[in-house]
C-alpha cells in the first residue's frame, strides 16, 4: 500500500440556506503522496477554498472522507484535530487571517504557542522567516500597518513556522508582485525538495504549476482532471 499523505475519498460539500442548496464540491477523490508539491487550479467560485478548508480539517465534508497520514479525519475529535493542526499543518489563508492586536512577529509565532520553547526562541524562529520574506524591517508592525502583500508574507511565515508536514496555501502569491511572489515560490520549492513536506497550493499561475508533481483541476465543484508529472 502506498504511503499517502493526503487521500480524499468521494468528498462532497453542500451548503444549505433555507431551500437553496449550493453544491460547492461534488464527489471529489484524489491522493497526494508524501513530499508532493501539488496544485489545485480552477476558476473563481469553483470550490478551491472549500476543498482547502476541508483538507485543513477546519471544515467538514458533507459526504466522503479525508485521510491524513492514513487516519480518517472524521474519526478525530476536536482536540485531536487541533493537535494535528498545531503539529503538522501550515495554512496560508486566502484572506490572510492575521490577528490585528498582535504585531507581525507575534502573529508569525502564534502556531508555536504549545511548543516547549521559550518566548525568545519562538520569536527568533518567526523573525528568521520574516527576514527571509523581506519583512525584517516590519517585525513590530501590526497587520493594519502593513500592505496587503506584506500581510500575505506574514501569513506565509506563520504557516511555515511550525515546520509543517502538510502545507496548504490558498493563493499565497495573489497579492504579491512578481519578485516577492517568486521568493515565496522559491521558498516553497526549497521546503518541498527536502521530501518531508507535502505542499498543496491554489494557484492560477502556469509558471508555478510547471514545478508541480500533481495538478487537480476543478470546475463548478467537480473534478475536471488530474495531471501527474
Amino acid at each position: 500500500m502506498v504511503d499517502y499523505s493526503v487521500r480524499v475519498s468521494n468528498v462532497s460539500k453542500i451548503y444549505r440556506s433555507g431551500d437553496v442548496e449550493v453544491k460547492a464540491l461534488q464527489d471529489i477523490s484524489f491522493t497526494f503522496k508524501k513530499g508532493y508539491f501539488a496544485a489545485i487550479v480552477g476558476p473563481s467560485g469553483s470550490g478551491k477554498s472549500t476543498l482547502m478548508n476541508i483538507l485543513g480539517t477546519i471544515d467538514k465534508p458533507s459526504h466522503g472522507e479525508v485521510y491524513i497520514d492514513g487516519i480518517p479525519t472524521s474519526r478525530m475529535n476536536g482536540d485531536q484535530l487541533a493537535d494535528f493542526r498545531s503539529r503538522k499543518l501550515g495554512f496560508v489563508f486566502q484572506a490572510f487571517n492575521l490577528i490585528n492586536g498582535l504585531d507581525a512577529e507575534h502573529n508569525a509565532a502564534l502556531p508555536l504557542f504549545n511548543m516547549p520553547l521559550s518566548e525568545g526562541e519562538r520569536l527568533k524562529k518567526a523573525d528568521q522567516l520574516l527576514v527571509r520574506l523581506g519583512l525584517g524591517h516590519r517585525l513590530k508592525q501590526k497587520p493594519t500597518q502593513l500592505s496587503g502583500g506584506e500581510q500575505q508574507r506574514v501569513a506565509v511565515a506563520r504557516a511555515l513556522v511550525n515546520s509543517p508536514a502538510l502545507l496548504l496555501a490558498d493563493e499565497p502569491t495573489g497579492n504579491l508582485d512578481s519578485r516577492s511572489g517568486d521568493e515565496v515560490i522559491k521558498l516553497f520549492r526549497e521546503i518541498s525538495s527536502t521530501g518531508n513536506v507535502t505542499l498543496v497550493m491554489v494557484t492560477h499561475n502556469p509558471d508555478t504549476t510547471k514545478y508541480c508533481d500533481k495538478i487537480i483541476y476543478i470546475k463548478d465543484g467537480k473534478m475536471e482532471k488530474e495531471v501527474t508529472r
Binding site: 482536540d79 495554512f91 487571517n97 490577528i99 490585528n100 502564534l110 504557542f113 504549545n114
Partner: protein, 435 residues
Amino acid sequence: MNYKDLVWLGYNDLNEKRVRTALTILMIVIGVASIVALISLTEGISASIQSSLSTLGPTSILVSSAKASGFTLADTAQISALPNASTVIPILTGTATILSGSENVSATIIGISPQDLQAAVGGNVSIYEGSTYPDSASPASLIGHSIAFPSSSSGRQNIFIGSAVTALTQSGSRSTQSTIIPVSGILNSSNSLLVPVDTSVIMSMLAAQTLLHRNSFNEILIKAKNTSSVVPLANLIIQIYGSNARVIDTQEIAATAAQIVGSITVLLVVIAGISLMVAAIGIMNVMLMSVMERTHEIGIMKSLGFRNKDVMALFLFQALLVGVIGGILGIVVGAGVSYGLAAAASHASSASPSASSGQSGATVRTGPGGSGGAAAFGGGPSSSSSSGSLTFSPMLSASTIIGALIVAMLVSGAAGLYPAWRASRLEPIEALRTL
C-alpha cells in the same frame, strides 16, 4: 497552553481596550471596596464597644432607680448582703449647665466617693492635671476633658486647676440656683462608652446631693465575684426591685451590642454583595461582547491548533486578571474609605459637645424627681456617643483582605465562565466566516 502566552495574549487584549477594561475593573473595585470598608468599619466599631465595656469590667452590674425617690443606704446594704456581690458603689448622676467664662456647657454631674471612682469608671480614665477631690461636702470636682478644652475655643484650655466654675441647677420647680465649684483636677480624654467621662463633672456624693437637691442616689454599681455569678446576681436584683429599677449587666450589654453590630454587618454585607453581583453581570456582559467581537480571532486561533480548553483558559484568565486587579485596588480603596470615614467620624464627634449642649438646652434636668429613668450610667450610650466618647479605628484583618481577594476572583471567574465556554465551543470555520 503555555502560561506566559496566556498572560501575554490576555494582557495584550485588555490593554487594547483600555477604557473598557478600566470600567470593568472599576465595577469590581466598587464591590470589593464597599465590602472591605463595611467589614473593617463594623469590626472596628464592635472592637471599640467591647473595649469600652471591658473598662467597666466584665463583672459589673448597674442598677438604676426608676423611682424619683431613688436609692438609700438601706438599698446598698441589702445588695451587699446578696451572695456573690463583692463591691457595691452608690452613684448619683444628674445634669447641670456649667458656666465658664462666656461658655455654656451641659455636663453630667457624677457624685461618687473618690475611693470608688477608679472601680466605677474603669482603668482608662486618668487625671490630666491637678488631683482628685476630697470625700467631703466640698463641691471641689474633677472636670471632664471636653469641658475644660471646649471645641468652641478650638481645643484651647478654658478651665484651669485652682479656678472655679459655676454650675446652674434647678431648685424646686422653676428657680435656678448657681453653685461655685472649685476645680481640683482635670481629666484626660477617655474612650468610655457607658460613662460620658469627657463631659462630666465628678465630685463627692455629698457635694452632688447638695448640688442636685436630693438626699438619695439613683444608681448602684455592683461588681460580682466572678463572671459566672453576674447573671444569677442580676436576676436576684431584678426579683427584689421588679419595675422599680432597671438592671443592666455588662455581659448583657456586650451581647446586645454584638447582636446589633452583627445584624448591621449582615445587612451591609448583603448590600455590598449585591454590588458585587452587579459587577459580575457587568463582567459577563463585557466578556460576552468581547467573545462576539473576537469570534473571527478565535476562529484563527482554532485553525492554528488552539484547543477548546486553550481558548477557554484565555478568556477565563482575562476575567480572573480583571478580578485580581479589581480586588487589589478594591482592598486599597476600601481601606482608604474606612480609615477616612473613621477619621471624619471622630472629627465630627469631637466637635459635637456644643451640639449636645444645644440639644439639652440651657435648662437643667436635675433636681428632685428629675433624674428620670436613664438607660445607663449618666444617661446611657446614646448620650455618651453624642458627647463624643465613641472614637474607633477600623480593623482590617488579614482574613478580610484574603477573603475579599478570593471573593473578587470567584466573582470574576464565575462571570467569565459562561463567555469563555461560549468562545471555546465556536467551530473554527464558522468563526472564521464571522467578521
